[in-house]
């Protein structure tokens, strides 16, 4: 049985990490364990869990800010915010559908993995809302960066650095997010029957309009292009009409009912269109929208892409494929050539251990990242190998 360390305070977390370092033991950081397939599998000596680091430490609705210990269930925070009609702006996806995991996603993992969802095009990713952190580095020291105010440029931004580092730089203990008011209304237009290139053109037109879309997605298997606006009711009505007019060259647009729209966006967010796919690999490809359709066509022509859909106006491609090494390499090389990057989000343990889960980077970048990692976790005891085999 693997040893599970579950510190109840930051001081205990410091002790746990310092003593692991002294004994040359490695640690796998686990929050809710719901994103178990995300990243390369970690072979660590012990599990360091945030399950006992719980609780909301600050909530100031009038200042749009919330802080909580890293192991606090996301649900608890979202419920609290809903009481004041506020939200985490970045619409974080829930990985349970694609991994089939149970358990409760934690707020710490949102920060550690820079999770976001469809609203990223308008409101940024988790990294853009994360304004403060406390973490324990690989020396067992508690470090603070950022704070609780929205504008803060004091010192190096270790908040951004740690966000999306998948726990390889430190154990996040307390996170502070800025919030936004919940939208007072939401409307979704649907255009049917567009091919990928036309759909992306339609989404670019809409996202480049003055009507402030909060999301734009295209699901080829359903032949549906979805455009979402979130505004107060009067404004929403006006903008839906204006957008319908703008969309005319692409075909008739109709408004989905609120419940249809809600379901559609939850699906886009949580990868419902591909969640039940039997394909061995599920990819998340970030790319400039204008290059996305050509990239997918190229992958299909080479018998690599099986099924796919687009979020972020084409800037995010979810794509399934086979998993032999040559195909994976072709796909990641093509992504790099298209100035994008591809992450292998779902694949077997073995595959994730052997292949590049994160887009391989040029050597100079790897060297620099290695030095940064060493500056936070000198003995590489935290989530060893989660992002890159050599780290």
């Amino acid at each position: 049985m693997m040893q599970v360390l579950a510190p109840e305070t930051e001081a205990q977390a410091c002790e746990a990490i310092a003593s692991a370092r002294a004994d040359k033991r490695t640690l796998e950081i686990v929050g809710g364990g719901t994103r178990s397939g995300l990243g390369r599998p970690v072979r660590a000596d012990s599990v360091l869990s945030t399950q006992s680091l719980r609780g909301i430490t600050l909530y100031e609705p009038a200042e749009l800010v919330v802080s909580a210990w890293a192991g606090t269930p996301l649900r608890e925070i979202e419920t609290l915010l809903a009481g004041k009609q506020q939200i985490l702006p970045f619409e974080p996806m829930d990985h349970r559908a694609i991994y089939g995991t149970q358990g409760e996603p934690t707020i710490g993992a949102l920060a550690a993995c820079n999770i976001s969802g469809p609203r990223r095009v308008r409101s940024g990713a988790a990294r853009d809302s994360l304004i403060g952190l406390r973490f324990v580095n690989g020396r067992g020291e508690a470090v603070k960066s950022g704070g609780r105010v929205m504008k803060n440029v004091t010192g190096l931004d270790l908040v951004k650095l740690s966000c999306g580092a998948h726990g390889t730089l430190g154990l996040l203990t307390e996170v502070t997010f800025k919030l936004s008011p919940a939208p007072r209304g939401s409307g979704t237009l649907i255009i049917e029957g567009l091919n990928d290139a036309r759909a992306i053109a339609a989404m670019s037109m809409a996202l480049g309009s003055p009507f402030e879309l909060s999301a734009a997605a295209h699901i080829p298997s359903q032949k549906r292009t979805l455009l979402r606006i979130e505004q107060a009711p009067d404004s929403l009505a006006y903008r839906m009409e204006a957008l319908t007019g703008l969309a005319k060259p692409f075909g008739p647009a109709r408004r989905l009912s609120d419940s249809e729209a809600h379901e559609a966006w939850a699906g886009v967010r949580d990868v419902a269109p591909l969640a039940n796919s039997k394909a061995p690999a599920l990819w998340r490809i970030s790319i400039a929208p204008s290059r996305a359709a050509a990239f997918v066509a190229d992958m299909a022509a080479q018998n690599i892409a099986q099924d796919h859909y687009y979020d972020w106006g084409g800037g995010l491609i979810w794509l399934t494929s086979g998993l032999d090494a040559a195909k994976v390499e072709t796909l990641q090389t093509a992504a790099a050539q298209a100035k994008g990057h591809a992450m292998l989000v779902r694949a077997s343990q073995d595959a994730r251990a052997q292949l590049h889960v994160f887009q391989p980077q040029p050597q100079a970048m790897m060297n620099l990242s290695g030095r940064v990692k060493a500056s936070m976790d000198p003995d590489a005891i935290l989530n060893p190998g989660r992002m890159y085999a050599c780290q």
Binding site: A62, E63, L64, Q85, Q86, N114, S116, R120, A125, R127, N137, V143, G147, R148, V149, M150, K151, N152, V153, T154, G155, L156, D157, L158, V159, K160, L161, G164, P181, A182, S204, L207, G208, P210, E212, D234, S235, Y238, S286, I287, A288, P289, S290, R291, W312, G315, G340, H341, M343, Q359, A364, M365, L368, S369, V372, K373, S375, M376, M387, Y388
Partner: protein, 483 residues
């Protein structure tokens, strides 16, 4: 309060100046090396003018490759480098030291590519902030972070300082609007951070470099997000009989789920100064004024303003002036945007930049007045209220050293207060030399050591902008870093 210290120049480097100049001349392309004292003088200081130091030489390279060759040379010979954009830093971030050279990016000033479908623009880092917006404004787009210095300041400086502006409440600051950057490390290695797509793979080194104040490398290119402008924008001006009422109004607006594009605050002294200069029609008999801007179609703006005005009335607003024309809008903003310039005509000033939780605004304003008064000086407040980023302008006489010392001491007291109430030393201007010695108010030794270790992953010899951000004592050398 003591003068801000500069490190003692390295005699060995100073003695080699002639040799260094000829070595630089061999690397720099013609017309890019500045050695004469007269011409170097323009680079002695930035907008933190109370301090100045003459650099050994200034180089204004024309290409990334040239920057790379120059940095490789500095690395090889242990020569210190201070990167520079337009020199508008208010924190002394671009002030050189005598044993350093300045590498300025002002000749790297081309717009490389505008991509409207993807809503991005690729630029060389020496372009001015305003020229980015101007390049896309005919198509209805703009670059969102808009520092008041946007006519002069460069994207390089904005990235180094993670600059903000009046419209950041809605659109975010620099770090939220940059997709990629090309940066040259001190070794001369050229690396691309991020790119055209969101959320680059691996560690977010782009997020680390933004706001790093020229200590990690020299930025030569950037890919920025551009935003489609709203159909229209309109400000409303509110006058209040107390700063408390204005502060409470700001909190109530946000509490009501409204995030306007901008919420700017001015106190009585600032109103008087700006009105005398800009003749914007500001009310002179109020204690505090808010300028709140909303965006959208005419009907949308009407509706939003109506809600905001209702909230203001509930907070006993005494003057309400909604802009009815483009001219009126321009005049309302003119007063605000010229605040620093107008103040400069009345007296010398230093501009503080702490951020406080918005719930603490009225308390901090009151304490600020008391602190400044206790030094026998005056203060004007004009700032971004929506995000609590305060800008007390402390008025003093630059030709009176005692007055300057008092102004600096008052400023430091105010910043300590900002940290005490849960805020920070700097919201958008950066630490530079100005706030360097206050870093221990906000961070403990472990916090600072971790930052220095990360810094050392880029520049272990402390050659890049070395006298900034971290207190001069207690710095980690290469040996401590490895430990």
């Amino acid at each position: 309060m003591n003068e801000i210290l500069f490190p003692t120049p390295d005699g060995a480097i100073m003695d080699r100046r002639d040799a260094i100049l000829s070595e630089l001349a061999a690397i720099a392309s013609p017309g890019c090396l500045i050695v004469s004292e007269d011409e170097r003088r323009a680079f002695e200081t930035d907008a933190f003018t109370a301090y100045r130091r003459m650099p050994l030489a200034v180089v204004l390279p024309r290409t990334t490759e040239e920057v790379s060759a120059l940095l490789a040379y500095c690395h090889r010979t242990g020569l210190k480098v201070v990167p520079r954009g337009a020199g508008t830093s208010l924190a002394g971030g671009a002030i050189p030291q005598e044993d350093s050279i300045v590498i300025g990016v002002s000749k790297l000033n081309k717009i490389l590519d505008v991509n409207l479908p993807d809503r991005t623009i690729r630029v060389q880092a020496g372009v001015t902030n305003l020229s980015v917006s101007e390049a896309v404004s005919p198509d209805g787009f703009f670059y969102a972070p808009d520092p008041s210095s946007q006519l002069a300041c460069t994207i390089a400086g904005n990235i180094a300082m993670n600059s903000g502006g009046a419209h950041c409440l809605k659109y975010g600051v620099t770090t939220n609007n940059v997709l990629g950057a090309k940066i040259v490390l001190i070794t001369g290695e050229i690396i691309e951070l991020g790119g055209e797509a969101f959320d680059a793979p691996g560690l977010d080194l782009l997020g680390l470099v933004i706001g790093s104040e020229g200590q990690l490398g020299i930025v030569t290119e950037a890919t920025l997000r551009i935003v489609r402008a709203a159909e229209g924008a309109r400000p409303v001006l509110f006058g209040f009989d107390s700063s408390e009422a204005a502060g409470a109004c700001v909190a109530a607006i946000i509490g009501a789920g409204i995030v306007p594009v901008a919420m700017e605050f001015m106190d009585r002294p600032a109103i008087q100064i700006c009105e005398a200069y800009a003749k914007a029609g500001y009310p002179l008999d109020v204690e505090a004024m808010l300028i709140i801007e909303v965006e959208g179609s005419d009907a949308e703006m009407e509706a939003e303003l109506a809600r905001i005005v209702d909230i203001a009335r509930a907070h006993n607003v005494s003057v309400v002036r909604e802009s009815r024309s483009a001219m009126e809008t321009a005049s309302i903003w003119k007063g605000r945007k010229s605040a620093f310039g107008a103040t400069g005509r009345v007296a010398d000033y230093i501009c503080m930049d702490g951020t406080v939780p918005t719930g603490q605004l009225s308390y901090v304003l009151k304490r600020t007045s008391e602190i400044v008064a206790s030094y026998g000086l005056r203060v004007a407040n004009v700032f971004h209220a929506g995000d609590g980023n305060m800008h007390p302008l402390i008025l003093y006489n630059v030709n009176d050293p005692a007055d300057q010392a008092k102004a600096e001491a008052a400023g430091m007291d105010i910043l300590r207060l900002c940290v005490e109430v849960g805020g920070c030393l700097t919201g958008e201007h950066g630490v530079g030399i100005e706030k360097r010695d206050l870093m221990r108010c906000q961070f403990n030794e472990i916090d600072l050591e971790q930052q220095m270790r990360v810094r050392a992953a880029f520049d272990p010899q402390w050659l890049l902008n070395p006298a900034k951000v971290f207190p001069l004592d207690g710095r980690l050398g290469a040996n401590e870093i490895a430990a």
